[in-house]
Amino acid sequence: MLSTKFSPMSKEEVDRKWWEIGDFFRRNSLWMLMYCTGCCAIELPPAMTSAYDMERLGMGPMATPRQADVLLVTGYLSLKTLRRLIYTYEQMSEPKYIVGFGSCTINGGIYHDSHAVINQLNKYVPVDVFVAGCMPNTEAVMNGFVDLMDLIKNKKANGWKDYHERYDWYLANQKAALGEVRVHDEFHE
């Protein structure tokens, strides 16, 4: 059905259109912040260098959370690092995404019974894509990124919105595991 009449778009529609255009740019230029906590980080160099050349997807490493779009959590997270991860995630500018690497971020992996390592990352921060494996091989990593792009295209990569909406839930989980998220650290005072 073609409408012959010109109908002015509503504000929501305009926003949506702009958002779609923005999504096009965003998925073609994903800048990563690599939070290399665990062994899965070893899979990133082959993904970035000539073997798989991540840059052809428009991805590249970035230095600070403010500049980055996607946070890579590569492996297990101890309590101490989780605090820093949450802080870092909150500093990223929106829209922002998280990719969790390896079984440690899914269910704790081989550290599932440790007193110091959390088991399930998406209880504390919203994870958009998990890449399974211990450790995942490079193809899986690349596939995870392509999946993330598809999710962005289909408007399903909404973890950052979820974090806003269910912030209380996330915060409660964080508090349950960590006590206080922000701690005083004597080496930085």
Partner: protein, 620 residues
């Protein structure tokens, strides 16, 4: 309105300010505002009826000797207007600062006495009067400086200023011996080009160097300016230092240069069109630029930093004036204006900060912009001009100076000039980053607040003028052309809005408007995009660490440490030299004391015998 009347007004109101100041400290300072504004306006009126060579002979009071004459020339008026303007502007600060000082009434009095001295120096055609007021300023300044932090600074100020003024005196007497009169123009014209002219030139240059704080007579300037009361620092840097520039003009422009043309340099001739004297002064000016820049980069005290920048800018003035010619002269004179305005504004801004925080150390300050935005803007405009960036006045003068240097093909001097110009970005940025920007430190967060209106007023006027000199320089250059014509040169070629140099045309107004257009475009882009979320200053990237202490997040101490490390061992040569010189004097004194002043009379007898023996030996 005669000059001597204005000088008497300044002196009388100084005495008045003293007695009023004894009754009420602030009221005494208010007298300085009224008096200096009055004098500035009256000097401004003089512009109307000046014809080159108007002489005001002294006849009002009879007991003064006949030689006390005053003369209004374009050159003198140029300096007088500039410096009295700086005095008038800075005087607004006096009421707010005077209570901090030990002798407030004395402060107000000496402030006006210095003003009187300035008028006397610039508006006379008599060397004795010039010297009298020159020294008069020295001793007024001498007691103004220690009202600030410490009195060591005053001593080195005195030492170098007096050395300078005595050099001036010596030159004056050489001319007096030649002509039998103290007339300035006659004296300079008579010795110009003769053997005596060489000595006079050297001595006057020495005096100018001492007053400008140029290398190698630079030690006093940062000390005095760093330690003097804040308004006095502004006056010194913006006004009194320009006495040196005035003497430099006398020495370098009114006297014929001496030496051979083309100072040779290892077989290659660098200074094709320059005489040896010009080249030497230019080289020393270049050294001044480099030393001032390198030292300014190292300072932690914002006032000292600006003091060294004054030194470096003095070097520019010397280089420009020594090159001579249309470009050099107009560049030098315009740089005097630009630097006077900029440094006064910068010092006033720093003064305003120091008033609320009590310190000017950059490592103890931070984030003042959040409480003092206007002061920050004033400082920003001032430093943009100081670094010679368009659209401020400093750019015009640096443009002219660069052309003069390039036109003369002075490669080594150009290295210094460019180095100073780029180096100035480094040092002027440092107070900006460490003092105004960065984290807001808790110790000043509650105390700090914007300066009161009467302090902002002069700062804003100065900033306005800085921008104005950069956007519409032709008004000022017109007057400078008159000055140059009076000095016997040709002025710049000025269009309606354009300045024509040797190798290019400049349109400052156009630059400013294009600047405006660009910023407008950027602003539109900015405003069209999504609004940003405001976050606190402590919410910054810390590699994930939780930091709550502002000091840890404030980078201000040893800002240019990697650069400083490269030269810090070699930079203190002048200071060390004077230190050693002083030690030598002390050693000599002690030695004489040891050999001649004992409690044993036979030592004296011994010396007497030696002396007689010397005589007899000489005879035989």
């Amino acid at each position: 309105m005669t000059v001597e009347f204005l000088i008497l007004v300044a002196l009388a109101s100084g005495i008045l300010a003293y007695f009023v100041g004894r009754l009420n400290k602030v009221l005494g300072a208010v007298v300085t505002i009224v008096a200096s504004m009055f004098i500035f306006i009256m000097i401004g009126y003089m512009m109307q009826d000046i014809n080159a060579g108007t002489t005001f002979n002294y006849n009002a009071v009879e007991y003064m000797p006949d030689f006390v004459t005053f003369m209004v020339t374009y050159l003198g008026l140029f300096f007088a207007i500039l410096v009295t303007f700086i005095f008038a502007m800075v005087s607004f600060f006096n009421p707010f600062f005077v209570e901090k000082y030990k002798y407030p009434a004395l402060y107000s009095m000496l402030y006006l006495f210095s003003l009187a001295g300035v008028l006397g120096v610039f508006l006379t055609d008599n060397f004795m009067v010039l010297f009298f007021f020159f020294e008069f300023i020295v001793w007024s300044g001498l007691f103004l400086i220690p009202l600030g932090k410490n009195n060591k600074a005053a001593i080195s100020y005195y030492a170098f200023s007096t050395a300078g003024s005595f050099a001036l005196l010596y030159a004056i007497f050489i001319m007096f011996a030649e002509t039998g009169s103290y007339n300035l123009h006659l004296g300079l014209a008579t010795v110009s080009g003769t053997t005596e002219g060489t000595y006079v030139l050297a001595l006057l240059a020495f005096a100018a160097f001492a007053k400008l704080g140029a290398f190698p007579l630079n030690v006093w300037l940062p000390r005095a300016l760093g330690k003097a009361p804040d308004p006095i620092t502004a006056v010194f840097s913006g006004g009194l230092e320009k006495l040196g520039a005035f003497v430099a003009v006398l020495a370098l422009v009114k006297l014929a240069p001496v030496g051979d043309i083309a100072g040779t340099l290892g077989g290659l001739t660098e200074a094709t069109f320059l005489f040896a004297s010009q080249y030497i002064v230019a080289t020393l000016g270049a050294m001044t630029i480099i030393f001032g820049t390198l030292m300014a980069i190292r300072q932690d005290d914002a006032k000292k930093l600006l003091a060294y920048s004054s030194m470096s800018n003095g070097g520019y003035i010397l280089v420009a004036l020594s090159l001579g010619g249309t470009l050099g002269l107009s560049g030098g004179l315009y740089h005097i204006v630009a630097h006077a305005l900029a440094s006064a504004a910068a010092f006033l801004a720093i003064g305003a900060v120091s008033r609320v925080t009590g310190t000017t150390k950059m490592s103890e300050l931070g984030g003042m912009i959040h409480k003092m935005p206007v002061t920050y803007m004033v400082y920003l405009i001032a430093i943009i001009s100081m670094a010679g960036i368009p659209p401020m006045g400093g750019f015009i003068s640096k443009w002219l100076i660069f052309q003069a240097v390039i036109d003369n093909g002075l490669i080594l001097i150009a290295v210094a000039v460019f180095f100073g110009s780029i180096g100035s970005f480094l040092y002027v940025f440092r107070p900006l980053a460490a003092l105004f920007l960065g984290q807001e430190l808790p110790q000043h967060r509650d105390k700090a607040k914007e300066a009161p209106f009467f302090m902002l007023l002069p700062m804003l006027i100065l900033s306005g003028l800085i921008v104005f000199t950069g956007v519409m320089p032709n008004i000022f250059l017109d007057f400078i052309n008159d000055v140059i014509a009076e000095l016997g040169g040709t002025g710049l070629l000025l269009g309606d809005y354009t300045i024509t140099g040797v190798n290019g045309v400049l349109q400052p107004t156009l630059i400013a408007s294009v600047f405006g257009v660009g910023v407008l475009i950027a602003f539109i882009i900015f405003i069209l995009l999504k609004k940003s979320k405001k976050v606190g200053l402590m919410d910054t990237y810390t590699a994930g660490n939780f930091i709550y202490t502002e000091e840890l997040m404030h980078y201000s101490l040893d800002f240019y440490a990697p650069l400083e490390r490269l030269y810090e061992k070699h930079i203190n040569i002048t200071k060390d030299f004077y230190k050693k010189l002083e030690n030598k004097v002390v050693d000599f004194g002690r030695m004489v004391k040891y050999f001649f002043f004992t409690n044993k009379p036979e030592i004296t007898v011994f010396w007497i015998i030696i002396l007689i023996g010397f005589l007899l030996w000489g005879e035989l």
